[in-house]
């Protein structure tokens, strides 16, 4: 037989520290989405909304700080939250792709926020039962904030969906293009499996029905159509293992440049 054997892509080695990986996922989702929201500061359609988006961004950045600090402690290599936020490359980030997409128009920002906020309350609610008491405490605190976030984005979904033809069209278009990125939120991998077995994190698949029914309830009231789920390809990689869209690199360039140009600077 002369033809070479078909190449086999080896499975990625299981990471040395699942909890560290998981904390990066939680922290990076918040860091990157918080940065995207902060891009609206000074540009939102009305003043109240400008303030609201900045407030939500601040909550997410605060949660990211706490989670990345814990990640650094768990890793034990002397990296603090700033080292993790400002001195990692795109392939080392573990956020889902949903949060790194450019902010788009206001309808896109709200639709993305709503899909994430519902995921966030469902996930945090489950994490309050974590056997890791530190993670459970952070989840309980963050959940209180997330409940304000989802009410904010949910009310906007109602206003935009059941508003004018133009607002309806824009938010429906946003939903249609965002939907395929939600599959990643519930795709469990060996990191999730290892931690779920220890009772540290919930079984991701069990969260999907709760998320779907809460999302659908609001979309129905907003006269919006829930897009159909697209099956996730076997072996598909995503942000959780460092496979990102091109957009993350551009975001990081802006977010990290000051810290990298002036390492250790204080003022």
């Amino acid at each position: 037989m002369t033809s070479p054997a078909p190449s086999v892509v080896p499975a990625p080695p299981s990471p040395p520290n699942a909890l560290f990986e998981y904390l990066l996922r939680l922290g990076d989702d918040r860091l990157i989405l918080g940065h995207r929201l902060s891009e609206w500061c000074g540009h939102a359609p009305i003043l109240e909304e400008d303030i609201a988006l900045a407030n939500v961004a601040l909550d997410l950045l605060g949660q990211a700080t706490i989670l990345l600090r814990m990640a650094g402690e768990v890793e034990g290599q002397g990296r603090n939250e700033d080292a993790l936020a400002y001195f990692r490359e795109a392939i080392e980030f573990r956020n889902c792709q949903l949060v790194e997409l450019p902010k788009g128009d206001f309808g896109f920002t709200i639709a993305r926020q709503f899909l994430f906020d519902v995921y966030d309350v469902v996930l945090l609610d489950a994490l309050t039962a974590s056997t890791n008491t530190e993670l459970a405490a952070i989840a309980a605190k963050s959940l209180k904030e997330a409940r304000y976030h989802v009410r904010h984005s949910g009310e906007w979904m109602l206003k935009l969906g059941d508003g004018t033809d133009e607002s309806h069209r824009r938010v429906q278009t946003a939903l249609d293009s965002l939907w395929r990125f939600t599959a990643e939120l519930f795709a469990a991998d060996p990191v999730d499996a290892e931690l779920a077995a220890a009772g540290i994190v919930p079984d991701l698949a069990s969260l999907k029905p709760k998320w779907a029914s809460l999302v659908r309830e609001v979309l129905d009231r907003a006269t919006l159509t829930s897009p159909a789920d697209t099956p996730r390809l076997a072996g598909a990689r995503g942000g959780r293992t460092g496979a990102h869209t091109e957009h993350l690199g551009h975001l990081l360039a802006e977010m990290q440049i000051v810290a990298r140009s002036h390492p250790g600077a204080t003022w």
Partner: protein, 170 residues
Amino acid sequence: MIRTLGAGARDEILAVLDTVMDPEVPVLSVRELGIVRDVLVDDRGGVTVVVTPTYSGCPAIQVIERDILSALANAGFEDAKVRTTYSPPWTTDWIPETARAKLKAYGIAPPGRSDHDTSLVQLMRARQSPPCPYCDSRDTEIRSEFGSTACKSVCWCRSCRQPFEEFKAI
């Protein structure tokens, strides 16, 4: 100077903390706000003040820690430390009645009872707007649940036609 901390040290420290005001709501002390969770004095006289942040991203927390340390240093507790805890999570239910009256006099509607119904089913339930801190009218509306600081929402009184802030329940 090395102070020997006696049994009364803890009360003395609490009295100092009563004088440290929140930088964003300067009518309330850090104790009235409920962010001072404990004061620990160890056998060697080491003082640790345990605090919890209001919101995860509250930018005032660093200023508050600095203010606590400097007030304690001025009172002779030079080597005090501040430690942060996240459990139990901060709730506005810890703000006592006397402090609520101060908030109202300052023009901020005090928080209602925090929502203990944490079922996800009630996620989108609308919140009732607070009475106006100026004219006590209940004919008010919430303009935005996010205000000038993380802990406040923006409201409007239809009776006296005044905008006002509410310390939102959490």
